[in-house]
Every structure is written in C-alpha cells, then in structure tokens.
C-alpha cells in the first residue's frame, strides 16, 4: 500500500474527495476526542476527462429510505442476479437490462476504477441554458462602454441555443423585450417597489403566453422562450445593438447625491422573471453592479453622498440602518433563486463598496460568482468575466447548473452538515445527524451553480457507540450522488462512492494519526471558522479557534481577511469569504497562507517563508494570495531597473530575472478564476503594502534593532509575530495540559 499522501492524492484525483482522517476512529467517543471531526472536502465536478459517459440510468437500492446507487463496493451475486446494498444491506434484484451480467461481464459501475462514474439521463426535455444579464446603468460612460463591450463579447461565447435576456436598471428597472423589429421595447418598473413573481408575471404579460406571444396557442406551450428570453442565435444582432444603445441612466443626479440605483428591485425582477418562466431549470443571472443600491428594497445606503456606506465599525455599533432589511431582501431572493435552481452572479465593479455584504447570500446560496473589482474597465473584470464562459475540450461549458448533491453513509456515520455554496433541501433521512455543522439537518443540498473547482466541506459524525465495536477490517462507506444539468442541456448524475477503514483509537492510534490529512483538516476547520465568523460575533470565533487548533497555519488564518475584518470593508470580507468557501483545497490554502517565491541571481526561484525576513534588496518576490498576484522588486533590483540595466545587452541576465516572475505570474493569472489583482511594485512602492501586510512581522519597529540583522525589512505593525504567537501557544498548551 502506498503512503498516505499518495493515497490521499490518488483519491482526490479520482474522486475529488479529501477526508480529514483517512482512517476513522470507530466510536463516537473517540471521534470526539480527535478534535478535528471526520469531514471531507468534496469537489463534485472535479474534472475527469477520462470518465466514460454512461448512457443509462443508475441502478438504485430498492429500499425507500436508502436509494443508494449500485457501486463497486456492493456485493453482487451474479447467479441470482442480486446485489446487496452496502449502506443498508438490502438485497436487490438487478433490473432486466442487467440479465447478461456476469463476473466477466460487469457493468462499469461495478468496476473498482469507476468509484466515480457519471450517468447521462436520457429522459426529460433538454432544457436550454438561460443567461439573464442584469446591468447597472448608473456608471461613468467609460465603465459602461467597457461593460457593454464585455457583454457584447459574451454573446459570442454563448451556445446559439442558449436563451438570453437583458434587464437594465438605474432609477428604473427595464426588462427588455428581445427580438422585436423596429422599436425596441422594454418593460419598466419602478425601482422602489418590490414585486412578487405573480405580479411580475401579470405585468410582463406572461400569464397567457399563447395569447400574448401570438404564436401557436396549441403548441404544448413550450416555455422555451418568451419575449424576454430568446435564443442567442435569434437575437444576436438585435441584442448587440440594444447593448450598444444602452445609455447611462438619464435621470439627473443632483450635486451631493448618489445616483438612484434600484439594484434590489432589479435582482428581484430577474429572479421573478426566471421563477415564472424557467423554474427548476439551469439559469444564470449575471448582475453587473456599478455601485450600491440606493433606493427601494435592498438599498444599502441613502442617496446622500454625505452619508457614507456602512463600515464594520458602523455594523458593530449597530449603526447600519439599511443592512438588516437589505440582507433580508437579498436572502429571500437567494432562497427563491436557489429553490428554482438559478444562480446569481455578482460582478461588482466600483471603487467604493456596493453592498456585497448584504448581497453575499445571493452568490453563496446559489453557487453564483462574486467578483469584485474597481472598474468594469479593468482586465480583472474583463478577463474574469470571459473566464466564466470557459469551455472544456468538448466545447461545452465547464459550468454546470441546478445541481443537487445527495450524500449516503454507512450506518456508523451520519451527516452533520455542509459548508459551501449550497442550500439545504431539507431531506431528512436515516443518515442525518442531529448535530448540525454548517448547513445541516439534511442529506441533500442544492447547488445551483457548479464549476470544476466548486468544493463543499462535508462534516460527519461517527455515531457508532463505543460498546458496539466494528468488526476488524470494516469500512465505512460514503456515497455522493450529484445530479446536475450539463451545459448541453442533459441531466447527468455523477456518483462517487468511497470508503475508509475503521480503526480502534485505543489500539490503532498510530494508523489513525498517520492518516491525518493536515491540509484538508486545516481547510475544513477554516471553513468552519469562517462559517462561524459569518454567523457569530468575531472575537468569539477567534477564541473558539484558539481553543480548537494550534498550528502555524492557524497563525495565518487568524490574520487572514476571512476572520479578521480590520482593514477590510464589509464588502471585501464578504468577497474573500465567498471565495474561500467555494474554492478547492489548493486554492484555499493559498488564500490562507499566501505563497511567496523569491527570484534572485543566486539560484532558481525558490519558495521562501512568508516572513519579513524574506524581503531582501536583491530579490524579486512573487506573492500569490489568490486574490492578488504581487511582484515585489527589492530595493537594489528596483534601482537597477530604474537605471535601465535590463535594456542593456550585457545585462540580459537581469532582464531575464525581471521577466521570470512576470511569466510565472501570467501563468497564474491565466488559470485562476476569478482573476487575481496583478500588482507590480517595488521597495517603497505604495502597493507594497499588500506584501507587507501578509508576511510574518518577525521584524518590527519594536524588535528590529534587537535583531540587528541586515536581512529583511521591518514591518510597522503592532501585530504579534509568529514567534510571539508560538511562544504564547506553548505556554497555553502547557497550562491547558496541566
């Protein structure tokens, strides 16, 4: 058997699953003592180009409460054509189509290498993809122009059959009718009044589709398109023109006021429109936000410029008067959207906050993206937006829609909950634990938007009692069943079945310890912490975290924007947390503990400690914090560069040195979503603060002289350094042990 690290990576590779523990303690008591719960990071859509599409439907366990899918772990009686469910031990007949089954003729789902397998469901109509653009028009002309171009470009990225719709908003909300000749039509709604889906339906004239559309009244009423959502191929030109003619919101904005922006109602209308036209079908609402909502439901700030938008300070003082109401509004929208399987993307591009804090659940609940940038006229937005439409080798979108994830467990294990971009479907079952962690109380979740990196943290509870030992060699099995709508319109079901050994903690503590997956555990705990940070008061979370974990990693976690709100706006916090909660393990690790590479003449690029001592004059540093890619030129290097040595042929090596981190950065930039902020700075540059805020302040104004070394750069901060932190921890550990 391979080493645990290999096993882990193999499992991750094949199934997209990483457990905190790869050998499970066999009783509840022992599991509790382990501090880090049995949990898993699961990436449902992990890219598996090698998976054969199975063109039939999965075979299910006949027990109503189980309905597990036939998998390689099941025992099969080829003669009797029976199989035993490995979760409930129910014996099931194979369906007639499996009559030819035999030991030499096994269906794919029984082959061990297909512990993850994907079925393509043939029945049911193929639903079109729906993309609904919700566009803010209260922005500077330059921004609007850039946005319009991006949107026009995106049309070419959509499959021709995809339905597309356009809602614009400013003071009013306009739902544009597409595909009309001559006069362009739009339905206008007041930005201050929320509408129920039913009202909206009436007002848009969607109640009597046959009558209003003037099309064949008898033709099965395919809600495949209506006046507002039309196939791209049909309205391509029309929509391009329409976007081209988009004007800045024409309502006058008087001095000292913010433009009136009806974001809340616009989103409500978008949700409502899809709700009454394409319920339970994949759809993406893409909201482009140029500023905060300033009127109507969902407003986060008044239109008086003299009143700034809420800060963490205001929130702590309970001085954010719009927050609760707005949050409630967006939460209800998020719930409605997720119920119908629609995701909401938010592309917020403004220098100031836009209310992501209030709106975060829209993305978090639905699996939509949250992107934050300074302007639509930046490559950050442009590239990111383009990357939304990334396609795989087959030319279909990598994204998937309207997914549900169902988890089945062996009897000894129960589900506590999940943390990630999902909502509960409230499916009670025998495998649902009473202890909730994250979104719990269910064994099914809805994930309206999925992409290959979307990762959920699932927390389990070992319920086996100490008195009922599990037979030696017993394995606990977990099955993940993800149903989703592929971008081709097909429904697909991906089934991952995995199992782990049980071990008695008293006797086999070594093997359990060896099976510990540090990285996974760190992220799992971090998610838990973030989840609690979102839902509870800040300091408590830190204290809880301190009690739970003592690790280097935690040092950075404590300082990360995920837990620490200092120096971050509420919007930024929401943004960071959002990304953290959905990215896979690798990315999440970077977020918590940025990666720092050093480039110098002294050797090849090397990772260096994220410490102020790594900041040296003759080095170029490349820092990747996931959100930022930062190239930092040391003092000397910066001077050289300024002097223009790189232009001289004799200093070509210097040119190469300068180029190396840039190339690496480009590579990162090209692969990451959302695109990080790219920063090129140098010693003393204003942007260097991003670096200085991340590194371990091992040298500060307090101690630099005592250290007295010439290496590194002092960080002017009162934050404790890792050294101090560790010292403190040690003390604590001793005292607590005592």
């Amino acid at each position: 058997m391979a080493t645990f690290p290999e096993y882990i990576s193999q499992n991750e590779e094949r199934d997209g699953v990483r457990f905190s523990w790869n050998v499970w303690p066999s009783s509840r008591l022992e599991a509790t003592r382990m501090v880090v719960p049995v949990a898993a990071l699961f990436t449902p859509l992990r890219e598996r180009p090698d998976l054969p599409p199975i063109q039939y439907e999965p075979v299910l366990c006949s027990r109503a409460t189980c309905r597990a899918v036939l998998n390689p772990l099941c025992q099969v009686d080829y003669r009797a054509k029976l199989w035993a469910c490995n979760f409930c031990y129910q014996r099931n007949q194979f369906p007639p189509s499996y009559s030819g089954i035999s030991e030499v003729n096994q269906p794919a789902e029984l082959l061990p290498q297909f512990s993850t397998i994907e079925y393509v469901v043939q029945r049911g109509p193929q639903m079109p993809l729906v993309f609904l653009y919700v566009v803010d028009t209260c922005m500077e002309d330059e921004d609007l122009q850039a946005l319009k171009e991006s949107l026009q470009m995106s049309l070419s990225l959509l499959p021709p059959t995809a339905l597309v719709g356009l809602i614009t908003f400013g003071r009013m909300v306009q739902v544009h009718e597409l595909g009309c000749e001559g006069i362009s039509k739009s339905y206008v709604f007041r930005g201050t009044k929320d509408l129920s889906a039913k009202q909206l339906q009436e007002m848009l004239g969607l109640t009597k589709p046959s009558a209003n559309q003037g099309r064949g009244p008898q033709t099965a009423q395919p809600p495949l398109s209506n006046r507002f959502l039309q196939p791209v191929q049909k309205v391509d030109m029309n929509l391009t023109d329409l976007l081209g003619e988009l004007q800045r919101d024409p309502w006058p904005v008087t001095q000292g006021k913010r433009p009136l922006r009806s974001l809340g109602v616009a989103m409500s209308i978008a949700v409502g429109l899809l709700e009454c036209t394409f319920p339970n079908s994949g759809a993406r609402i893409m909201t482009f936000i140029g500023g905060p909502a300033t009127q109507g439901p969902g407003m986060v700030v008044g239109d008086e410029l003299k009143t700034p938008i809420r800060s963490w300070h205001d929130i702590e003082k309970d001085n954010a008067k719009f927050m609760k109401k707005a949050t409630k509004h967006y939460e209800s929208l998020a719930n409605r959207a997720s119920t119908n399987g629609h995701m909401i993307d938010m592309y917020a591009c403004a220098l100031d906050q836009t209310g992501l804090l209030e709106m975060k659940c829209c993305a978090n609940y639905t699996g939509g993206y949250m992107v934050m940038a300074d302007s639509f006229n930046t490559s950050l937005f442009k590239q990111t937006f383009q990357r939304v439409f990334t396609k795989d080798v087959q030319g279909s979108f990598k994204m998937a829609f309207a997914a549900t994830l169902e988890v089945k467990t062996s009897r000894e294990v129960k589900l506590s909950g999940a943390i990630g971009p999902c909502v509960s479907l409230n499916a009670k079952g025998p495998c649902v634990s009473e202890n909730e962690i994250g979104t719990g109380g269910t064994c099914q979740w809805k994930i309206c938007g999925l992409d290959p990196s979307t990762t959920l943290a699932l927390y389990f509870e070992v319920v086996n009692q100490h008195k009922a030992p599990i037979p030696q060699g017993g394995r606990g099995a977990i099955q993940f069943v993800s149903q989703y709508q592929h971008s081709s319109g097909q429904r697909r079901i991906r089934v991952t079945t995995t199992a782990r050994n049980w071990a008695d903690a008293q006797t086999q503590i070594q093997s359990i310890a060896a099976s510990f997956d540090q990285e996974a555990a760190a992220i799992l705990m971090a998610r838990l912490a973030v989840y609690r940070a979102e839902t509870e008061e800040g300091p408590d979370v830190l204290r809880w975290l301190d009690r739970q974990l003592i690790r280097l990693f935690m040092f950075h976690l404590r300082r990360s924007p995920f837990l620490q709100v200092f120096n971050n706006s509420p919007d930024e916090s929401s943004y960071y947390r959002h990304q953290f909660n959905r990215q896979d393990l690798t990315q999440a690790l970077i977020m918590v503990q940025p990666v720092l590479y050093a480039y110098s003449f002294s050797g090849p690029p090397e990772p260096v400690l994220l410490d102020s001592s790594s900041i040296l004059p003759d080095r170029i540093l490349l820092m990747d914090t996931f959100f930022q890619i930062l190239i930092y030129h040391g003092e000397t290097v910066a001077q050289w560069r300024k002097a223009g040595y790189q232009e001289m042929s004799e200093y070509e090596n210097f040119k190469h040195l300068l180029q190396a981190p840039v190339d690496d950065a480009q590579e990162l930039l090209h692969t990451r979503f959302p695109m990080p902020r790219y920063i090129d700075t140098e010693h003393g540059g204003s942007q260097a603060r991003f670096l200085l805020s991340k590194v371990n302040p091992s040298q500060t104004h307090n101690n630099m002289y005592t250290w007295g070394q010439e290496s590194g750069a002092p960080i002017l901060t009162d934050d404790v350094s890792l050294q101090v932190f560790m010292d403190h921890l040690k003390k604590l550990a001793v005292s607590s042990a005592a």
Binding site: G182, V188, Q199, W251
Partner: protein, 1296 residues
Amino acid sequence: MNVNQHTPMASPYGQPQPGYGHPGYAPLDGGYPVPYAPYNGPASAYQPGALPQDYSPFTSFPSKAVAATPVSDLSSPLDLGPARGPPTSGPPPVSVPQPFNQYSPSQGDVQNGPPPMTQAPPRPAASQPYNQGAVNPSGPHSSYPQHYGPPPSMQQVTNQMTGMQINSGPPTAAGPGYVPPHSSQPPISTAYSAAPPPAYSQASPPASSAPPQPPPPSGPATSQQYYGSPQSPSQQPFNSSLPPTSQQQFTSPAPPPPSSQQTFPPSSQQTFPPSSQQTFPPSSQQTFLPPSQQNFPPSSQQTFPQSSFSGPMPPPSQAPAPPGSQPQQSFSPAQPPFSSAPPPVSQPAFISGPPPSAQGSFPPRAPPPSSQSGSFPSAGPPPTSTPSSQYQGPMPPQQQHPPSQPSPYHAGPSPPSVQMPPTSMAQSNHLPPGPQGPPCPPGPMQQPPTQPGMQGGYPPQQNGAFGQVRGPQPGYAGPYPGQPNYGAPAPAPAPAPPAQKRLDPDSIPSPQASDMPAVQKSRHRIDPDAIPSPIQVIEDDRAKSTEPFTTGVRGQAPPLVTTNFQVKDQGNASPRFIRCTAYNMPCTADMAKQSQVPLAAVIKPLATLPPDETPPYLVDHGEGGPIRCNRCKAYMCPYMQFIEGGRRFQCGFCSCVTEVPPHYFQHLDHTGKRVDCYDRPELSLGSYEFLATVDYCKNNKLPQPPAFIFLIDVSYNAVKSGMVGIVCQELKSLLDYLPRENPEMDSVVRVGFVTYNKVLHFYNVKSSLAQPQMLVVSDVSDMFVPLLDGFLVNVNESRLVIESLLDQIPEMFADTRETETVFGPVIQAGLEALKAADCAGKLFVFHTSLPIAEAPGKLKNREDKKLIGTDKEKSLFQPQVGFYNTLAKDCVAQGCCVDLFLFPNQYVDVATLSVVPVSTGGSVYKYTYFQAQSDQERFLNDLRRDIQKLVGFDAVMRVRTSTGIRATDFFGSFFMSNTTDVELAGLDCDKAITVEFKHDDKLSEETGALMQCAILYTSCSGHRRLRIHNMAVNCCSQLADLYRNCETDTIINFFSKYAFRGVLNNPTKAVRDTLINQCAQILACYRKNCASPSSAGQLILPECMKLLPVYLNCVLKSDLLLPGADVSLDDRAYLRQLISCMDVSESHVFFYPRLLPLLKLESGSLPVAVRDSEERLSKGGVYLLETGLHLFLWVGASAQQELLLNIFGTTSFSQIDPSMTSLPVLDNPFSQRLREIVDSFRAQRPRYMKLMVVKQEDRAELIFRHFLVEDKCASGGASYVDFLCHMHKEIRQLLS
C-alpha cells in the same frame, strides 16, 4: 303660424314660397312619416289632425275655394264639424275639386306671394286628399287616410309644440267629447276627437278672434284673400270680414274637400296675414281662430288636420251663419261647435302650426289635388302626384282609409266638435288668454305695418305684453297634459267673442287689447307666428347694429351674439370677453331677489378676437410687478381714481387709497385724469395684459415651456376603428402647428407620446436615437414615468424619430387582442411626466372604452335605464369613484390640463371620465361608434383645432367686484380649492366661465357696479401673464331699468349651466321646475312692477326677455333634462360638461339651432333663418341646420330639381346619398356658396360639425327633428306655444 312667420319673411319667401310651399310641404310630409314612427302614440291621433291640416290648407285656399265651393266646403268643413256626417263628406269631395281649382289658381298666386310656401302645397295636398276622400268615397278614403297619415305627422311636427302635446293630451280628453261627434264616424271621430277637440275648442276661440279679423277684413279682405284666401276660408268664413263669403266659399268648397282645402286656406290666410300687415291683425287672429277652429274641429279627431278641416268645416256651418252676422258672433256660435276645437289656444297654435304644416304637408298631398289643382299652383300638381303618393303611402296606414272620408268628414267630427265645443269651450275659455295673444298680434300687426306683420306682431311683444301669448295658453291646454289647467285660462281668452263671453270675458280683454284691434284681442289662439320669434329678434338686432359697438358707455347692452359687429374697447371689456345677464344691476339685494333675474357674467378670458380688433396690449410695470390696490389687490384699471395730484389713487372697487409708486407717477390734467391716460392701456382700456414677475410664478421660479403629451389607446377597439392609425398619421403633420404666440417662431411646446391598453407604453424619442424606444409600464397600480430625457422632446429636433414612431405605432398594435384598458393611470402618467419635467402642459387622451382593467380608477358599467327619472338619477351624473377627483386636484396643482377624445362603442361612463378634463379646464370630445371613414373628418378637425388653439396653463382666475356685490358662484371647467380662486390647469380660447354675483350690500347708482376679472396664466410660450378684463355696469333702483337692459342669451347661458350642474344633486324634474319657476317669477315680477296694467289673462313679456320662454323651453327640453328613450347616459353626461364651458354664442345656437333655408344664396349674406319648427320646412326646399355640434342638410322630398342639381349634382331625390359627409364640389355658384356657408359655420364653432344629409322621410330625419326645438319633441318636451301657455299660467298663478 308658420305661415305668419313666413309671411314676415313672406316677402322674401314670396318668391321662394312657391318652392317653399312645395318643399315645405314635402318636408312636412316627409317629416311626418318619420315622426310618426316615433310619435306613433300621439302622432297617430294627430295624424288625423294632419288631415285636418290638409283641410286647413284648403281653408286657406278657401278664400278662393270658399267662393268656388262654398257649400261643399261648408259642408265638408262644417260637416267635419257638425255634420261631417259621412254623407257630407261624400259631397264635399265633389265640391273639393272645385275649391281646389279655385284655390289653386287664386291661392297659387297668393301663395306664391306670402303663404305660398305653405299654402300652395297644402292646397294641392288638401285638394287631393279631399278629392279622394270626398269625391271618391272609396278612393278618397284611401287617399285621405294616406293624407291623414302623413299629415298627422306633419301636423305633429308642425304643431310640434301644441300639436304634440295637444295630441297626447287633448286627444284623450277631446276624444271623448269628440267621440260623440264621431259617432257619425266613430273611428275617426274618436281619434280626432281625442286630441283635437281641446285644441279646437281653443281654436274656436281663435275663431272668435277671427271676428277680430273682421276688422282686418277690410284691409285683410284682400289680404285675406292672400291669407284670407287661405285662411279666410277657415277664419274668414268664420270671421266676419270674409266670413260670409269666405264661409260661403268655405262651405261651398270646403264641404267635402273644402274641409281640407278650407283648412289650408285658413292656414294660408294666416300665413298671409302676417305678410300683409293689415291683414295680419285680422289674419293673425283670424288665422288663429279660424285655423284653430277649423283645424281643431276637424283636427279634433285628427287633431290638426281635422282642426284645419274642422276649421273650415265649422266655419261653414257656423260660419255661414256667423259670417253673416259677424265673424265673432258667428264664431261664437260657430265656435261652439268649433269652439270645441277652436277654444283651445292650442288650436291657434295648431292652426297656425297645422295649417302651415298642413299646408306644407298638404302640398304634397296637394299633388293629388294637383290634378284638380292643376289649376292650382303649378307646383302643387306635380308634387302632389308624388307627395300624394307619399302621403298616401303613409296615410293609408293611418286612419285615413277607413276614416279617410270619414275623417275628412270627420270634419264631420267637427260636428262632434260642436259637441266638443262645450268642453272645448271651457278650454277655449282658458284659451282666452289666447285672446291676449290675438290682441298682441294685432298690436304688432298694427304696428308692424311698417314691417311685415310678423314684426308688427312682435312689437307688442316687445312692448312687453304678448297678446299672442294668450294663444299659447290655449295651446298649452291642448299640449300639456294638464290641459285642464290650460283649459281654464284658455277658454276665456281664445274663444273669441263667443267663447270669451261665455267663458272668460275678462281674459279676453287684454291690456293690449286696448291697443290692439278688438279682433286681435279677441283671439285666443296662439299663432306661432305671433309669439315672439327668435329669428325676428335676431334679425332686428342685426339690422340695428350697424355701428361698431363701443364699450365706453356704462350699462349699455351689446348686440346679440348672433350679430356681427365690431367692438371698440373704450374702457370696458369687449362683449367677446364678458357678457352680463344684466347691464343694469339692481341696487339692492331686495330688488334682485324680487326680480329673480340672475346677475351673472359669462367670461371668456382668452377669447379669440376677429382680425379687425386689437388683441389686449401687454403692459410691463417693471420689476415691482403690476400696480395694485393695497387692500383688495385689484389691478390698475380705468376705474382707479387718481388723487392728490396723481400721487395716490383710490381703488374703484374698495375705495382704499394707495400710493403711486414713483416710477409710475404722472401728473393729472384739469379733469383729474392722468396726462398719460391714453398712452397706457391699463388706464384706458377694458382688457389688457400685464407681464407677471417672478412673484407670480409657482415656487417663485419662472415657468418652463409647456409640454403636450399624447396618450393613445391602442386596445383592440381603438385599432379596429381606425382611430390609432388616424391619430398617428395626423400627428405627423399636426406637430408643426403647435401653438405659439409669435407665428414667426417655432413653438417651444415639447411633445411626448404614450400608448396604452392595460399597460402603458412610453416612448423615448430622443433625437440621438436611430429608432424610438418603447418603455412599457405595467405597474399601473402605482404609476410613474419611466424616463425623463427623451420623453418630452422638441419636435424639430426629434422629427425623424417621432415620425418613425408614429409610423410604427399602428403596425405594432395591428394584431393586438387586448380589449381591456385603464384610464386613471394614463392621466397619472401624463401628470407624472409633467411633474418630472417641472412644467405645465396638456394631455391629449384618445380613449375608447370603459376602463375595467385592474387599476386605480377602474370603473364598472353602471348604466341603468331604470334609474332615469328617479331620485337616484342624479347619482348617474356623479363620478363613480372618488379617485378622479383626487387626481384632478393633483393635475390642477401641476398645471396639467387634460383633453379627452372618446371613441366609445358602448357605455364608457363619461360622467366619471370627464371629471379630470372638466376640473382641469380641458375638453371632452366624443365620437360614438367612431368609423374612420365617416367620422375621420370631424375628429381630425377637432383635433387640429384643439392642438392649435391658443391656450394658457396653470391659470388662476380671480373676479373682484366693487363693494356691494360679490362673485358667489362659478360655472365652467375648472377647479376651486377655495371660494374665490378659480384654478384652471389649462384655459383655452374657447372656454367660458360663468360667474354669478350676489349682493352683500347696496350698490349706488352713481358708481355703478364694477368687476375686474384677472387671470394669471402661463402662455404657450412659457411666459407668465396676467390678463385683466374690466367691466362696469349701471345700477338701478327701478326694476324697469333692470328689465330693459338684460340679455336673454346670457341669462339662458347661466340658467343652463345652473340647471346642468343642478342635476348632480337634484332630480331632473326638480331642476326643470326650478327653472320654470324662476323664469315665471322673473316675468311675473315684470308684469307686476313694470308693465302697464292689463288683463291678468294677458301675457306681457319684457322686450329684452321676450325670448326667454322659448329659449328656456329649449333648455328644459335638452337631452340632459328631458332625455328621450334613445339618449344614452353618456350623451347626457357629455352634454352636461359641454354646456359647462360654453360661451353665450355657443349656448345660444346649441339651444336654438340656426335653420337656414337654402333657396337663393347670395354671396356676402346669409339667408334669413327660419324658426326651428317643422312647419317652417317646405317639402320643396333644402335647409341647413346648425347647432354648434351638428350640421344637417335637410332635403325635402320634392325639393326642386334645380336645387338638387346645384347641391348634389343630381336631380333625383332618391340618388342623394344620405351617408355623405361633405357636399360634392360642384362648379356652380350655388354649390360654392353653400360650401362657403358650411365652412364658415364650421369655422365659427369650436367643434367641427359633421354634415349630415337628411332626406325627408328618411330614418335619419328623426334625429334632425330633434333639433326643431319649437316643436313638441318625442321625449315629451313642450312645443314653444304650449310652453308659452304654460308659462303664462305660471305667471298668472304668481300674480294672483
């Protein structure tokens, strides 16, 4: 009557008459038939009467006829009356021909002169009928019936007033009475008896009056021949003057046919009388009586016709004797028999009416006679043939066939009539008042000499006492159900000598009686020609107003609105801006209360002036704004008295002394006038404008230029009817004509477009767009404006986009299936748009249906015919929901005026929908059952005018008055949030506001009463202005002065607005009663305090108010106050709001339509109008009728071919397409002139009048008839004569 009226006209008509006669008749005939349909009930009865008319014509002919066939006539008429005995009838026929012949020649001639019109035709008709009836038992019968048939209608129509009512009323009453007589010929008699009797009875009185004729006879004799010839038969026979001969003649001719003929003659005579002055007195009386008698008696059964017949008939019987004795006496006796018929004043009316009508109608009938008449008027014959056919057609159905002979013979009825007499007599007694009538006529007649009888007749009226009125009374008896009442008064007066004697001798002696010839006095019947004629008054006023009217003289009443005159502003506002009910206001409240004359002014602040008058000057008083009195805030005006060397001025309104600002100081001359007095408009003129300063602007901000927003319904109905396409097409060109003050400049008015059904579509037409953008707002429950920039645009800048939009709108909605609409949100949308743009403006809403879609202001269909006439009826005029009141208030606050164009196919609740337009100073236009093809022209012209006309926005009007009176009530399209400020979101040049004043103190005769009307408004170019109109009137301490300086048209304007508003809170009946009551009080007060002492039975009207009864009757009969069965609630509500902002000239023509005979058209002048009565229509003529809303071209069934050829390009009556909406353009002077006239009419009125061609006897004639307001109307409205009688009764009651 008609004849009489015509007579005055006669001279002119004389020539035309021939034509007229025929045409007139024809029309009548034609008219009748149609009327019949509606009138069926009463009509039928009357129809018989009609026959009488035929007779009447004869009677008229009688003069000649009389001679010719005295016996026969006698027999016939008499027969009708007494012996009508079928037998006689039999004989008569024979005689008839003769009479006809005789008549024909003589009459024809005569008629040609004055009466011709009516007479000529009648005769023929009559002759025929008679002939047929009389001559050929079988044939005749049939013929009679036919004749009768038509005649009845004719009569009804002609008599309208009396006829109608009488028919209804009298018939029943008379019925019984007559019945007996009928006994001879039960059926007919009964019928006839019913209605006619009363009338006749009254008529008989006239007969008595006839006696008076005798006097005239001398003069009249000849005249009579004219008239007499016609009338004489009837009257003359009766009358002493001709009596013998006439009677004889009558008798002879009359007998069989005579009856008919005779009747005609009388009528003709009557008509003639007027023509000839001398004749008039007698004739008038005679006519009255005779006709009445004749008519009545005969008519009794067939009310009119019979009457006419009877008239002649009776005379014969009686006449023979009486004549010999003397007309009166003879009459009396005769009357007795006739009396039944004659007595009723109505008869006179009838007679007058009937005869003419009869004649008219008859003429057609004449045709038959034509054969006989061949000798008769040439016209007669030809027409006769046709007419006869027509008549016959109609006639037959009616009693005629069976009764035919009988009926004529009913003349025979006349005998019954004799029986009737008693009862009738009683009535006749009542009629006596009629006598007054007669006197008057006589008076006038006498006086008139100078002028045609008509005028003569009037003069007395003018004097104040209308003898004629008396006539009416009798008539009333007939017409009004309450005949009994009338009967009471009637009998006395009319019944002429005999009747009077028996009944009311007192009544007979009318005040004027003294003045008037005895004969006249004695007459009781009301001769329609003798009662005040609006036409005459109008013509007189025209004749007298040759000089420009200068406004400098305080208390001087301006010329009538119907007169063209030039105004010179010399210190008081032009009557085009302000007209007062009284130019001599009573000094005290007591006087005012006693007189009951409303003190009101009709103000039309932005009235358009003719090109030869200078528009108000613009005065700029600099930054301080206009100079005003410190206390009452009145603006500088000529009434301000400068004192202390010019350093101060004393306010003429409140007497407060105010410092003159230094920059305004000027020295005074020796008279105390400022030296610059004539350099400053505000010191020397009645009307001028001030430039308002920013203090006078909303929010102290100079206003933005206004905006026009077009809101177009695009629901299924709107698209289907073609409205949407038409509007869009038209707007493209119309937008170049937005109002502007300076024609050189482009208009600054911005425009915006909205379409809607259940949702609203706004359009972005910003000039930078390649294509317009449509913005749909479906949240109608909470309306808002979806865009600002690009919604209201300058036409020139966005022309291409706008045109593209207007091209596309019809296409976009061509396939719509949306039938539901909203309305409240539509106005809200416009309002919000104006609010957003921070400007005032006007909304043009083009709407089709009841807004039933779920939205604010949603309405239910609440049209419930069952409520009509009940106390709950008023609720139907009130808005259904309060929403629109609130909305209107908001609109006013913003200066948002709403013009509503309705295109309903069914009930749309105009009462509710018009709330906002009415409150915002807007207009409502209604095009029921809009069809692009036929209504497009009218709609587009209205739209063009509405868009182009000058309009002010966001206006506030304040009327200040001198101490002593106060403006207390306001009527019009506006909103008031307090008791003094009239707020008008929009005020255009067609809107008038009626203001009522009440005393709150004494006024002094020295200073008079001053009023200043100040309107602060934003002009269409966005300037803030103050327009000032000043008016000073005299004050009087003598009631007589008050009555001498009143303007009836203005009073009617006030009354109508008062009444039309009254229906909101009171049952319509109560409103009508109030009106009648007040009117009666006004007249009673005059009678009591100002008129020379006279018999209580005499109706005396102030000269200035002599038309008050006829106009008031028109108001009372309006669709709003007295709806016919086919008048929808919407129509009434529509009228209600329409009236509310009419000025005097509009209300005048609306209530008393202008009816022009088209015979000869001279360039430069219009033909003299004729009175709105069917009797005035000649079957052979073509008439143009204008109401301000409608325009009819009525074509007589036997209109001259030349006329038809000139007008329509065809000689065939049947080829005239009644659906044409414009006259064919023909290259002949007549056609050109006619079209000129039509165009000029249209140009005069704020609303385009669609031309309706009405062919006589066509279905459409019903509609036309509705506007013959002197006639009785289908919905129960009284005829003029009847109403006058009723009024007289009321007055008498007040006086007693």
